[in-house]
């Protein structure tokens, strides 16, 4: 996600390296590139123009800090402006002060409303609430059935009245039903519709007037082009939406829609949705500053950290810490535990996006492949307990046996052995540099290389 945009921005910034200071000419050269990167990322033309104008003014203005290189100055300004463009801080779904919280999902056909509805239901359930899904899409064939199947998967009751009743009536009856059945959240899945379809937009307005939803959320495909502006504007004018959810964020869309929608409607992006699987983690809260950091290729350490904390138990962390302080080095048992933990953190390719300065890592074109994890696991599982504890034990004949046992090649076994060795070497170096604040939890995660990042991380950790 955002990859192309961030690649482009970083290349642009690189060109500023070695320049003494920001001047009219090197700024406008860079900004021409930035402009193009934005347009290719499907940021609306108008938004792009205003954004560039602001950066230009600021870069040439007084506030430039003398101590920073031009590259960092511009990066900082772009980062701040991006964050502001996306709305400074994360905004959650509001809860109704009394009665059930009613969330109404609206959007174009194929944006992903039904899938989002199910993910949202699951999220509410995880938070200890009692959601009910409402099948108000009476137009698309089998839409109700789809919601029912997803409701079953997530263990959420689905309210439906077939396709012969008007969606307004369905919504009204659903909210009543929720009250009698003590559901405290109601998620209304409406039919996809064009923002210029007066009749169908009128229907949404009537649903709004009848059930007064706590939140009306516009579901938008992250791949949407320049038209995102028109869609958001029309839905917002007709319904005064409360926010948006961006879907299909696991593709390689450059996410320009996120920037445009926020800017045009001044309404927050509340969630981003990744993946087709219905799981609560597939609906992430949208954090503007983290997203800006991702766009600038600085990764998103905060989210990575949170994900890690979700899966790493305290005890495991302590055990790892002991090992590291005793300078023993990791063995294959630790490696296996870490593989499991990484797997629990979510799909690899999505994790990769969070790694700071990913593009500056020594290994180019990191193609995350879940299969590597599987191979590594079966290789380790084909080792004897002694071999796992004491990797140097592995000689040729043992490796051959392991390769046969795990259905891999000696080459693959060797690769894994050297990976462990490399990891231990890296850890030793880190230990020598002594950054105790980082804590053991980070031991298994790729670390940023730069000093600048470290101080920033420390700050973040403290502030939490």
């Amino acid at each position: 996600m955002f990859e192309n945009l961030s690649d482009r921005l970083q290349n642009t910034l690189k060109k500023l390296r070695g320049q003494g200071r920001l001047t009219e000419s090197n700024v406008s050269d860079s900004l021409r590139e930035v402009r193009r990167a934005f347009l290719e990322a499907d940021v609306s033309y108008k938004v792009t123009r205003e954004f560039i104008e602001r950066i230009k003014t600021r870069s040439l203005g007084q506030e430039v800090m003398g101590s920073l290189t031009p590259e960092l100055q511009i990066a900082r300004i772009i980062g701040e402006e991006l964050t502001q463009l996306m709305g400074n801080h994360a905004e959650k779904i509001r809860v109704a002060p009394s009665g059930p919280t009613v969330v109404m999902l609206v959007g174009l056909q194929g944006a992903g409303k039904t899938t989002v509805a199910a993910k949202l239901a699951l999220k509410f359930r995880k938070e200890g609430r009692s959601p009910m899904l409402v099948a108000a899409d009476v137009y698309r064939p089998a839409a109700i059935k789809q919601l029912q199947v997803l409701g079953e998967q997530t263990g959420t009751p689905v309210f439906s009245m077939g396709t012969d009743v008007s969606p307004v009536k369905i919504a009204e009856a659903a909210v009543k039903e929720a009250l009698t059945r003590a559901h405290n959240c109601v998620i209304i899945d409406t039919a996809g519709r064009l923002h210029v379809d007066a009749a169908l937009m009128g229907e949404l307005q009537r649903i709004k007037a009848t059930v007064s939803p706590t939140e009306i959320l516009l579901v938008v495909d992250a791949m949407t082009g320049q038209d995102a502006v028109n869609v958001a504007e029309n839905f917002n004018n007709d319904l005064d939406i409360d926010g948006a959810i961006l879907t299909k964020m696991d593709g390689d869309a450059r996410g320009g829609a996120a920037l445009s929608i926020r800017y045009i409607t001044q309404k927050p992006i509340k969630f981003i949705s990744v993946g087709e699987k219905i799981e609560a983690a597939a609906l992430e809260e949208f954090h503007p500053e983290r997203m800006a950091s991702r766009i600038l290729g600085q990764g998103d350490f905060q989210t990575l950290l949170e994900k890690a904390e979700e899966v790493f138990s305290e005890d495991e962390a302590k055990a790892l810490e002991r090992k590291l302080t005793e300078n023993k080095g990791l063995d294959f048992n630790d490696f296996l535990t870490q593989l499991e933990q990484i797997k629990n953190m979510g799909p690899l390719d999505q994790l990769m996006d969070l790694i700071p300065f990913k593009n500056q890592l020594p290994v180019k074109n990191l193609e995350p492949d879940e299969n590597h994890l599987k191979y590594a696991k079966s290789i380790i599982q084909s080792m004897t307990p002694a071999e796992r504890r004491n990797p140097p034990l592995l000689d040729r004949s043992r490796k051959l046996r392991i390769a046969k046992g795990s259905g891999t090649t000696v080459n693959q076994v060797n690769t894994l052995v050297s990976q462990l060795r490399m990891m231990n070497r890296m850890l030793n170096q880190q230990a020598a540099m002594a950054v105790p604040e980082l804590g053991p939890k980070m031991g298994s995660l790729p670390r940023p290389k730069r000093k600048a990042r470290k101080s920033r991380k420390r700050k973040r950790r403290k502030s939490r």
Binding site: R36, L39, E40, A41, D42, S44, Y45, L108, Q109, G110, A111, G112, Y139, R140, P141, A142, A143, K145, Q146, L147, Q148, V149, L150, Q153, L194, H195, V196, D197, A198, A199, D221, M223, T224, G225, Q226, D227, A228, N230, V231, N234, N237, K248, D250, G251, D252, A253, R254, G256, A257, E276, D349, D369, E370
Partner: protein, 330 residues
């Protein structure tokens, strides 16, 4: 302006009779693209008027309009380079002469019309691909109906065994179109459903077999591999299959469509593109970009939810409709 849009929206929803005629295609596209055109035209006609000289400012303003129409930066720059060249060669000076040049250059980028033709050994097989929510199932419903009306016997294979109720959705479309659906069990291996469908189609001597597939993001390698497998299974089960591989692209999608087309094409070589949802305000500029940058011809465009709203793509009509000066709607 909003009022205008709503008026158009109303019109496009009025139920009309089936059997599209040639003129109504043009009118429908025109009204479908009305909002696009209103904007493009109002912007363009403001620019291209007698008395205004052709200069760099003008060129940049045209570029801006094209980019806003999702034509894409690269394609726009190529197009404008060609336009500049043509202006120089022809020695044009007044902006009112520019419209013809623009049209001609866009036409060049669009390439030749390549309509879909049912040829080769029966059953003629069509594999339909695309990302989630592009409109594959709806497109298949419309295609099935179209072939059926053309007097062909049609079979549809429910290759989307992943999404909840996908096969049910397809079943309803098939019922409307009056064609038979072959479906596998819940979570069945898609390739095996397709394999069975090919044999069923041969056995029943069907003319056409349309294969639905689950929507997938092109960034998911395993899912793209699954698609290649479906392609391989098809060609093993039936010589020449898949005869046609149609990539369905959402007309509101931006520059990402190019990436989609490129990667899907690597999984199964695409023979044509269907652009859907062009009845909104999306400008359809992506049609030009896809054609120009991938050489994958656009074969159909979707202009609405009715069964007959899938039309053959005709580039001259498309460009004419884009530039038609008055909204004499259907």
């Amino acid at each position: 302006m909003l009022r205008n849009l709503f008026k158009d929206g109303d019109k496009s929803r009025v139920e009309s009779d089936d059997a599209p005629k040639k003129e109504s295609w043009f009118n429908r596209l025109k009204s479908g693209l009305a909002k696009t055109r209103n904007q493009l035209i109002s912007q363009l006609s403001g620019l291209l008027r007698v008395g205004r000289k052709i200069d760099e400012d003008l060129m940049e303003e045209i570029e801006e309009i094209l980019i806003q129409a999702d034509v894409g930066v690269d394609t726009t720059l190529t197009l404008m380079d060609n336009v500049r060249e043509a202006v120089k060669v022809k020695g044009l000076d007044d902006s009112s002469e520019l419209e013809t040049v623009l049209k001609a250059e866009i036409l060049k980028l669009l390439g030749e019309d390549v309509p879909l033709q049912l040829e080769g050994e029966k059953p003629y097989t069509i594999l339909v691909l695309g990302v989630n929510g592009a409109g594959k199932t709806t497109t298949i419903g419309k295609l099935a109906r179209r072939f059926r009306r053309g007097g062909h016997s049609v079979l549809v294979a429910a290759g989307d065994t992943f999404r909840a109720a996908a096969a049910d959705q397809l079943a309803i479309w098939c019922e409307r179109a009056g064609v038979e659906l072959i479906r596998g069990g819940e979570r069945a291996e898609p390739a095996s459903v397709v394999f069975d469908a090919i044999h069923a189609a041969k056995h029943r001597e069907a003319d056409v077999l349309i294969v639905d597939t689950a929507g997938r993001l092109h960034t998911k390698k395993p899912l793209m591999d699954e698609l290649s497998k479906i392609g391989r299974v098809m060609s093993r089960a039936h010589a020449g299959a898949p005869h046609e591989v149609l990539l369905v692209i959402d007309g509101t999608v931006g520059q990402n469509a190019l990436m989609q087309a490129k990667i899907f094409n690597e999984a199964v070589p695409i023979t044509g593109v269907v652009v859907t949802k062009l009845d909104g305000t999306a400008k359809g500029g992506i049609v030009i970009a896809v054609n120009a940058e991938l050489g994958a011809p656009v074969k159909f465009i979707g202009l609405g939810e009715r069964l007959e709203d899938l039309r053959d793509f005709e580039r001259t009509d498309f460009v004419e409709a884009l530039f038609a000066s008055d909204a004499t709607d259907a």
